[in-house]
């Protein structure tokens, strides 16, 4: 009996060893381990074994079965592995073939710049507000300390609808509109379209975008203005960016300043881009003029504030090195798709 078992086992193992396909393994399983298989028939002949030997023989049959099964499983795994490998060899692709992209659209460079700016200021607790593009002269000029016949009114080349209504020349009127509501403190930015009667050329457009910023609270200082804009410049143009504040004049701020940032092309060493100066002018700002506060019903003895205005196109042109402003309004896909 034992010899017979050993023989069956050896035979089975040899056949397993020699098999080169999963079907053959299956045939072997049926032939040895199946209901009518050889091992099974040994078990069936158990009735001929002496009762006291039966457990021993049973054990031997089970051991043989276990060994065959184990071997069979190992061979199956190996075969499966080989077949998968074969399969994968057939599936080799040329990874340098072109990609098949889902073609998504692109944001306008001005929008990308705007979202950057919004992200920075929202992070600092500023609310984004809007105001009308067609605006009363009162808000566009008068409430900003630019009374009738003020030369600054001429400087801005205003489009008029009638003597009281203009296309806003700046986003600053939103300042006055927000302050008038009287809800303090104020931290806001107001992006939007503005209009000036400049002929279209590479650096001018009669319609462009500005972002106005305004903070009004108790104890707001010029130092706060400097700190805020320095932070803004670093966020927008990179950690190494430095800012320079130069005195300037705006009717609605006092003291006023123009702000330069270190040229982000040369880092301040001077290059063609910054005309050798190492600096690029990016915005105007200042402490809100006390008279502007007064006109909006805010007591300048108690509150102070700062305001700033940035040209969005200017930032987009600088940041993306676009050399002609007209590209921004032509909407050629080959241009837009670069952003």
């Amino acid at each position: 009996m034992k010899d017979q078992l050993e023989k069956i086992k050896a035979e089975a193992l040899a056949k397993i060893e020699a098999s080169d396909a999963l079907e053959k393994l299956n045939d072997i399983r049926v032939a040895y381990l199946g209901k009518k298989g050889q091992l099974t028939s040994v078990l069936k002949s158990m009735k001929d074994v002496a009762p006291e030997d039966r457990p021993k023989v049973g054990q031997m049959v089970n051991d043989a079965r276990a060994i065959i099964e184990e071997k069979m499983e190992a061979a199956r795994k190996e075969l499966a592995r080989k077949m998968r490998e074969e399969q994968m060899k057939k599936e080799v692709i040329d990874v340098t073939l072109p990609a098949s992209k889902a073609s998504t659209g692109h944001s306008h460079p001005c929008t990308i710049a705007l979202e950057e700016v919004e992200r920075i200021f929202i992070g600092m607790g500023y609310e984004v507000v809007e105001g009308p593009e067609i605006e009363y002269d009162l808000y566009n000029f008068e409430k900003l300390n630019i009374p009738a016949n003020h030369p600054a009114k001429d400087e801005q080349d205003t489009f008029y609808i009638n003597k009281d209504i203009v296309l806003r020349t700046q986003t600053s009127p939103v300042q006055a509109r927000v302050m008038e509501k009287g809800k303090l403190p104020i931290r806001m930015i107001a992006p939007g379209r503005v209009f000036r009667s400049d002929e279209v050329d590479a650096t001018h457009s009669p319609s462009f975008h500005q972002i106005e910023g305004l903070v009004v609270d108790k104890n707001i200082t010029f130092a706060d203005l400097k700190g805020t804009l320095a932070e803004f410049a670093r966020e927008l143009f990179g950690e190494e960016t430095k800012v320079k504040f130069r005195p300037h004049h705006f009717p609605f701020t006092e003291p006023s300043a123009e702000v330069d940032v270190t040229c982000f092309k040369c880092g301040g060493k001077g290059c063609r881009f910054c005309k050798g100066s190492g600096w690029i002018e990016i915005l105007g700002c200042g402490m809100v003029h006390p008279h502007v506060l007064e006109m909006c019903g805010i007591d300048p003895e108690v509150y102070s504030g700062f305001a700033f205005g940035v040209g969005l196109e200017r930032i987009a042109l600088l940041k993306y090195e676009i050399d002609d402003m007209r590209l921004l309004y032509e909407n050629d896909e080959r241009f837009l798709n670069q952003f």
């Binding site: 998504t104 659209g105 692109h106 944001s107 306008h108 929202i122 500023y126 609310e127 809007e130 009308p132 593009e133 067609i134 016949n149 030369p151 001429d154 489009f159 009638n162 209504i165 296309l167 403190p185 379209r193 209009f195 009667s197 279209v200 009669p206 319609s207 609270d217 108790k218 104890n219 707001i220 010029f222 130092a223 706060d224 400097k226 700190g227 805020t228 320095a230 932070e231 320079k244 504040f245 130069r246 005195p247 300037h248 004049h249 006092e254 003291p255 006023s256 123009e258 402490m287 003029h289 006390p290 008279h291 102070s304 309004y329 032509e330 909407n331 050629d332 896909e333 080959r334 837009l336």
Partner: protein
């Protein structure tokens, strides 16, 4: 404003700064220098040469050979210049030196022109004699230079000395950007005062001495100001026995550096004082003044007047005029008259130094189309207290230049004297505004440097009348900040109550619109808000279309930009057209921008500005691609209301069979469609194009960010497919309405899976097949449940004339 650095240094004698250092420092203290030009740029090794001997060139008719004494030695120079003679002193550039330009006076090369010794037709030449053009200037600035030829230096010039020095070209011209509030800095004296303060150096303005003979001007001239509102001050002085002559070199050089062409001593003095004091002056020929009288009054409407440039000007009642006893002789503050101008025959003249109303001058100059140097200064609003000093300075120069005899006395009409302003000084408040800790004495030091007065007793800053920009504490704070240094002020962040940074609901919805459009392959365009009224015809709009009621701009940049748009379509179609014309394929664009709908015309209140989400495309995709983008957007902004698309709508620019209004709860919230082929032709788009326009203000009320989780279905769904024969005129939208209305609570979804018209279907009908899914939340549906609902749906469909297909 351009000014000679040497002139500034004349009043700040200790100023040693180099041109660049000066530029940076002045810019940081608030007098912005835009740039500068060194007049001696590329002028190297140029000395005075004395021509000792001239011989003809043996081999060239047009050349001469000169022996030139250059101080230490005598060198030989060959030249073709026709104007030199023996004994002349000329500028000579030596071997290895440089000149700024060519003799033709064309644009100056960046690096100048190097001069080397060499041979001209076989004769050695060791340098070059220079024309004024080669020295980088022109006859405009050196009127004594010959038309073509070598510049001849004064006879007393020393051979071998620096010719550039002699010509006054070792100077720098700085270009300033003066802000409109600093009228005082439109003058050399004003800038020099700022320069002195910037560099903490003493300021030495010109010292004006008393002039005038024993006579009294009042015996010669009467002055009457009728319109004092427009002329706060009028000063007049007189000069007789005028001797017209060229001005001295120093004066010519300073004027030339400012870009003013020297003419003669009288003209030059008026220009010189205008630059120096910022006070325009005018000179009248006394002998042309009828009645020896000056009257300042407004013109009469329709008056015509010939200005000294020979032009006839049409006046109106708001133009202030200078008259004599009989007639108009000058437009106040803008330009004198042909009839009273200084000619070569002038013997006696009147110097006018007046203060006119800035706004009036500005508006008059604009109406007349005549903006002059003088009006440019006046329009900024001058300090009347400057007028007297300026005219006295002019008279002083008359005496110094020997240009005539100054008549004693002055006529000064100055009814209301402008007084200095007093501003309370509170160093605490200044520090509080600036965020600094500057002590009071330092602040007062700055005031002193700027010639601001200070009243110790009252603790008040006294602002001189030339500083009309100083009115209150904040202005004083700026002065402190400027001289303390903007760069030294600390950088802090605002403290105080925290605020929430956020976008408005409207802006968040717009952000989603952008996201959906871009994910769907549309790129963002931007177009102008104003356009031509012709676009309405291009869009095939009928005469009565309300879209034609647009707001006009009074002063547009031409007709093409003259109305505020009432539809975003022209912008979109123009952009598509640009792309098509440039052969870009499969173009998809969107724009988010306002249209402007007037409440009434002409405008009495602000119009309705409506944000439009506009999509446009040609190439791949069709009507339903566009519809898909629109619906994706509605879904993303949480619109749960059922939308209806109705082909019964206007929009003549759309294909009549391929257009729809989008309706939500009886509100039209937008439209979409294929561009009408006629319209596509007009815009030269050679492919089928599709547009969608969504009116954001109408959509916002239906948008919401609220989302409620409804649970993932646990019970199985039952699907029923129906295949129908539908009269052709029935829209699938109507079928869907029936399914939606009659499907009841257990209706989960439905979708069209087949639509067919053709041979197997009776003419006038189409085959439509829907798959309808039912599901209950709380149980497994039985056939009876579904059958009951299906029966209702089928009944409804039958009412529309629809039959189930066998």
């Amino acid at each position: 404003m351009n000014t000679s650095f040497a002139w500034i240094k004349a009043y700040v004698p200790d100023l040693q700064a180099a041109a660049q250092e000066y530029t940076d420092a002045m810019t940081l203290s608030g007098t912005k220098v835009e740039g500068y030009e060194c007049l001696d740029k590329n002028l190297e090794k140029i000395v005075v040469g004395e021509i000792l001997k001239i011989e003809r060139h043996p081999d060239a008719d047009k050349l001469i050979v000169c022996q030139v004494n250059i101080g230490a030695e005598t060198i030989q120079i060959v030249t073709g210049a026709p104007n030199v003679k023996e004994g002349d002193k000329v500028p000579v550039v030596l071997d290895g030196g440089k000149v700024a330009g060519g003799h033709d006076g064309g644009p100056l090369p960046e690096d100048g022109i190097k001069i080397k010794k060499g041979k001209l037709r076989g004769i050695e030449s060791n340098g070059m004699m220079c024309s004024i053009e080669e020295l980088g200037s022109s006859r405009d600035m050196y009127p004594d230079a010959p038309e073509s030829g070598i510049y001849i230096l004064p006879p007393d010039s020393v051979p071998g000395s620096d010719a550039i020095e002699l010509l006054g070209l070792h100077d720098v011209v700085h270009e300033y950007e003066i802000t409109s509030n600093r009228v005082d800095c439109y003058s050399v004296v004003g800038i020099a005062r700022e320069a002195a303060a910037t560099f903490r150096l003493p300021f030495h303005p010109p010292v004006v001495t008393k002039t005038g003979n024993q006579e009294d001007i009042h015996d010669y001239l009467k002055v009457r100001v009728e319109d004092t509102d427009l002329c706060p001050r009028y000063c007049a002085r007189m000069v007789k026995n005028i001797k017209l002559a060229p001005s001295p070199e120093w004066m010519k050089r300073r004027l030339a550096a400012c870009g003013i062409r020297p003419i003669n001593n009288i003209v030059d003095i008026t220009n010189y004082v205008m630059e120096e004091y910022g006070q325009p002056m005018h000179a009248f020929d006394y002998d042309t003044l009828a009645g020896h009288e000056i009257v300042v009054k407004r013109a009469k409407d329709g008056d015509e007047f010939q200005t000294l440039d020979g032009q006839l000007r049409k006046l109106d009642g708001n133009v202030l005029m200078i008259n004599d006893g009989e007639k108009e002789v000058g437009i106040a503050g803008i330009m004198g008259g042909e009839n009273s101008k200084i000619t070569d025959e002038v013997k006696t003249m009147v110097f006018e130094s007046a203060c006119f109303d800035g706004t009036n001058i500005r508006l008059s100059a604009k109406r007349l189309g005549l903006r002059t140097d003088a009006s440019g200064k006046y329009e900024k609003g001058l300090d009347p207290n400057n007028a007297e000093e300026a005219v006295n300075r002019a008279c002083q120069l008359i005496v110094e230049l020997g240009a005539g005899e100054v008549v004693g006395g002055i006529i000064d009409i100055y009814p209301v004297k402008r007084e200095e302003k007093r501003i309370p000084f509170s160093p605490e408040k200044i520090n509080q505004l600036l965020g600094t800790d500057i002590d009071a004495d330092t602040m007062k030091g700055y005031f002193k440097m700027l010639d601001l007065g200070f009243d110790e007793e009252k603790q008040e800053v006294i602002a001189p009348t030339w500083r009309q920009d100083l009115e209150r504490q904040a202005d004083i704070a700026e002065e402190v900040a400027r001289f303390y240094g903007y760069d030294k002020i600390p950088t802090t962040l605002p403290t105080g109550e925290a605020t929430t940074g956020k976008l408005s609901f409207k802006l968040r919805i717009e952000e989603i619109a952008r996201r959906v459009a871009e994910f769907s392959g549309f790129s963002q365009g931007m177009t102008y808000s104003f356009e031509s009224p012709k676009v309405f015809d291009k869009l095939l709009l009928p005469e009565a279309s309300p879209l034609r009621r647009a707001i006009s701009i009074m002063n547009p940049l031409g007709e093409d930009f003259s109305i505020m748009r009432t539809t975003p379509l022209n912008g979109m179609l123009t952009s598509l057209s640009t792309n098509y014309n440039r052969r870009n394929k499969n173009v998809k664009l969107y724009e988010l921008a306002n249209i402007y709908i007037p409440k009434a015309l002409p405008l009495t209140e602000l119009p309705d500005e409506r944000m439009q989400f506009t999509l446009g495309m040609y190439g791949e995709g069709d009507f339903f691609t566009m519809k898909g983008v629109v619906e994706e957007f509605f879904e993303k902004i949480g619109m749960t209301e059922k939308l209806h698309y109705t082909p019964e709508c206007e929009h003549p620019f759309l294909h009549p069979g391929r257009k729809a209004d989008i309706i939500c709860k009886n509100t039209v919230i937008g439209y979409l469609g294929e561009l009408h082929p006629d319209c596509a032709d007009i815009y030269k788009i050679g492919e089928k194009a599709y547009v969608a326009v969504l009116d954001m203000p109408s959509i916002l009320p239906f948008a919401s960010f609220d989302r409620k989780y409804t649970g993932i279905a646990k019970h199985p769904a039952v699907t029923r497919d129906i295949s129908m024969v539908v009269p052709k005129n029935i829209l699938v939208g109507q079928i869907e309405d029936v399914i939606a209305q009659r499907g009841g609570k257990i209706l989960e979804s439905y979708h069209l899976f087949d639509i067919y018209e053709g041979s197997q279907i009776v003419a006038g009908y189409k085959s439509v097949a829907y798959s309808i899914v039912f599901r209950a939340k709380d149980r497994t549906l039985t056939d009876e449940d579904v059958n009951a609902v299906m029966k209702k749906i089928l009944n409804g469909l039958q009412n529309l004339g629809i039959e189930l297909r066998a």
